[in-house]
């Protein structure tokens, strides 16, 4: 039984690839099995096309699972969340079976663009209250009308990173405005991270993402002080890691702590600081786009990604945090103590940042923020 839930496979038209792969008899059997029993999902197999952040496609962590099931994963790396929805806005969206969305984009993906499909929780048994922290269950970022639209699977936070040999630990973003740091800091061109920071440095953090247009102007006027202080607006994490390792800059205002490992691999040293204005949380979720044609394997992949061992392994590799409670005990000391897993409420107390409204008379819209960000980068 599917308990009345419509499975993604039944709402998705079969594609040429799927038709070529399945014989008519097998297809008929699979549909019949799906209609009669949720436990009868076909075994994972075949090609799986996914779109994920570089390194987040679980290549080493799920190798045994892929080998056992004969699954071949083809990954298209994304360098920003924009890469994902841009592809699905095209008239002929690519046949991805699985992609990732940052929680900030939930409304856009689920309500506006409609590029997520309902996920049958029965096909993802690891997504249960015994395994998953409560912060990731039953939240609007991943559900609509009681149906799962995305499965949160990894989270973390962006914060200040600095070279302890070159400067004192920053206690606040304001510390980066010290005269001796002029021309020594970097800002990353990552709007999802930097927009909440923009509001916070202007004392408007609690209002984000709903700032009026006047407040938006005031916030970017404040952020301009940091741009004047900065030596570079880095293209991405790799870019900033290179600059930190070479000593061209000594700190980055707010970035993914994964940069620490990248910088260390390049011979640099870097530490993490938590400014009093707070860190910027993010949670990535897997979703199944309407163009998916190997839904069974996609859901099996998600399920494996939530297994405690895979969660522990990838979080240790990427310096991020698991959504699986059971994974914490499987991580090494460094990974386990980086975050206080007994006090996750404190991390999530401020809520997860979203993106500004697409349309609004009262508040600055997403377009307004993009324009302000472009002007910031152009030095206006």
């Amino acid at each position: 039984m599917t308990n009345g839930k419509t499975t993604p496979a039944l709402t998705t038209a079969p594609t040429r690839r799927g038709l070529l792969r399945m014989s008519a008899g097998l297809a008929g059997s699979a549909v019949l099995m799906r209609l009669t029993s949720s436990a009868a999902w076909a075994a994972p197999s075949g090609d799986l096309q996914i779109m994920a952040w570089e390194g987040y496609d679980l290549v080493p962590e799920l190798q045994a699972w892929r080998d056992a099931n004969g699954v071949k994963v083809e990954t298209t790396s994304m360098t920003s969340q924009d890469d994902v929805h841009t592809k699905f806005m095209a008239g002929n969206p690519p046949p991805f079976d699985l992609a990732e969305y940052n929680q900030a984009y939930a409304n856009l993906y689920i309500d506006q663009l409609g590029i997520t499909t309902p996920i049958d929780p029965v096909a993802v048994p690891n997504f249960n209250a015994d395994n998953i922290f409560e912060q990731f269950l039953g939240k609007a970022e991943w559900e609509r009308d009681g149906k799962l639209t995305g499965v949160p699977w990894i989270w973390g936070f962006n914060t200040s990173l600095y070279n302890a040999e070159a400067m004192a630990e920053p206690k606040s973003y304001k510390d980066f405005l010290a005269p001796e740091l002029k021309g020594k800091i970097a800002i990353v061109d990552d709007s999802v991270t930097m927009w909440p920071v923009t509001a916070r440095v202007a004392g408007l953090g609690a209002k984000y993402p709903n700032l009026t247009r006047d407040e938006l102007s005031a916030a970017f006027a404040e952020l301009a002080k940091y741009r004047d202080q900065a030596r570079m607006i880095a293209l991405n994490m790799g870019d900033v890691a290179t600059a930190l390792a070479s000593g061209d800059v000594v700190a980055v205002l707010c970035a993914d702590p994964a940069v620490i490992k990248m910088t260390e691999e390049l011979g640099g040293k870097l530490k993490m600081a938590v400014p009093e204005e707070g860190v910027v949380l993010w949670v990535d979720a897997w979703f199944v786009p309407p163009s998916a044609d190997n839904v069974e394997t996609a859901l099996a992949f998600i399920n494996e990604a939530l297994s405690p061992q895979a969660q522990a392994d990838i979080c240790m590799r990427l310096n991020q945090a698991p959504v699986s409670k059971q994974a914490v005990a499987l991580m090494d000391d460094a990974a386990r103590t980086r975050i206080d897993y007994n006090n996750l409420e404190a991390y999530f107390a401020g809520g997860l940042p979203g993106i500004p409204p697409l349309e609004s008379e009262e508040f600055a819209t997403y377009d307004d923020w993009i324009s302000a960000w472009q002007e910031f980068k152009a030095g206006i």
Binding site: H85, T86, Q112, R231, I233, L235, G247, D248, D367, G379
Partner: protein, 290 residues
């Protein structure tokens, strides 16, 4: 069966024509059509209105960034041409060295990004230039203005596009017969005089092409300014990309792209007019009916 010269030409050109139709002409037409459409909240609807052009043309940011791109493009193209002309002349009319030509081509063997990172290594605080200057006692502290600055962008763009410019200039010079230069010299022109009165006018079409191609490539490059420009890396290309990627406003991005295209055409016309006024490009003579 023997094809006429006209049909032979069409047959030989057809793969290129088909390719350009499929991947340039039709996409450009789509872009033009899109520029009149409407977008709201990531939803694009067909329409015929000029709002996107009005918005782009009245946007201070767009003009400031575009002006910046044009200045970067013009400066890079002028410097590239200034360096490519003597090298091209030497290789075509003096040395005729195939080895030197091959050396110029060698610079293309490494990838674009590798070359950008190489410049970072050269210009950084711990880079080769700062280290040498410090070890020679010429400076006490690294010159930070070398990297993440307009200087870094300019130097890198010239390095990236100079080989293209040299090859194009050489191609233009190859068309000129040595007899014409010799005749000019026999008639009393100096070497420089012969260059400007014979070489430049006869190679003008190719030289304008070299200049424009370098200008277009440097003007449209948005990776180098972003990676080496520090806090001055915003370009028109990025603005247009943002409309397609971040806001989902493809019609506005299309209008901005069309404006950029028209701007390049305008610059092209200005270069032709300037070249004719200065006498570098011969004026067309109307053919008289015999």
């Amino acid at each position: 069966m023997k094809l006429s010269a006209r049909w032979s030409g069409w047959t030989l050109a057809s793969p290129t024509i088909l390719f350009m139709l499929a991947f340039f002409v039709f996409p450009s037409l789509f872009l033009l059509v899109y520029s009149f459409w409407k977008a709201s909240s990531f939803q694009i609807t067909p329409a015929f209105q000029f709002d996107n052009y009005v918005r782009a043309l009245t946007d201070e940011l767009f003009w400031r960034v575009t002006f910046n791109a044009v200045i970067i493009g013009l400066m890079s193209a002028v410097v590239c041409m200034a360096m490519a002309l003597p090298v091209g002349y030497y290789l075509v009319f003096v040395s005729r060295s195939r080895l030197l030509e091959q050396i110029i081509l060698v610079t293309w063997f490494s990838s674009y990004l590798v070359r950008i990172f190489a410049w970072r290594t050269l210009l950084g605080n711990d880079g080769v230039i700062n280290t040498v200057l410090q070890s020679l006692g010429l400076i006490d502290a690294p010159i930070e203005a070398l990297l993440y600055s307009r200087f870094a962008v300019g130097v890198t763009l010239i390095h990236l596009y100079l080989p293209y410019c040299i090859i194009l200039v050489m191609t233009a010079f190859h068309e000129i017969r040595q007899d014409l230069i010799d005749a000019s010299r026999d008639l009393g022109r100096s070497q420089v005089g012969a260059f400007f009165s014979v070489v430049v006018p006869n190679a003008s079409a190719g030289l304008v092409g070299a200049f424009m191609l370098t200008l277009i490539m440097t003007m449209g490059d948005f990776v180098t300014p972003q990676m080496l420009g520090g806090t001055t890396g915003q370009t028109t290309g990025l603005l247009i990309a943002d409309q397609f990627r971040r806001t989902g406003n493809w019609p506005l991005g299309s209008a901005q792209a069309v404006i950029m295209f028209l701007l390049v055409v305008l610059i092209f016309v200005a270069v032709i007019v300037a070249g004719r006024t200065l006498g570098f490009i011969p004026k067309r003579r109307k053919q008289r009916a015999v």
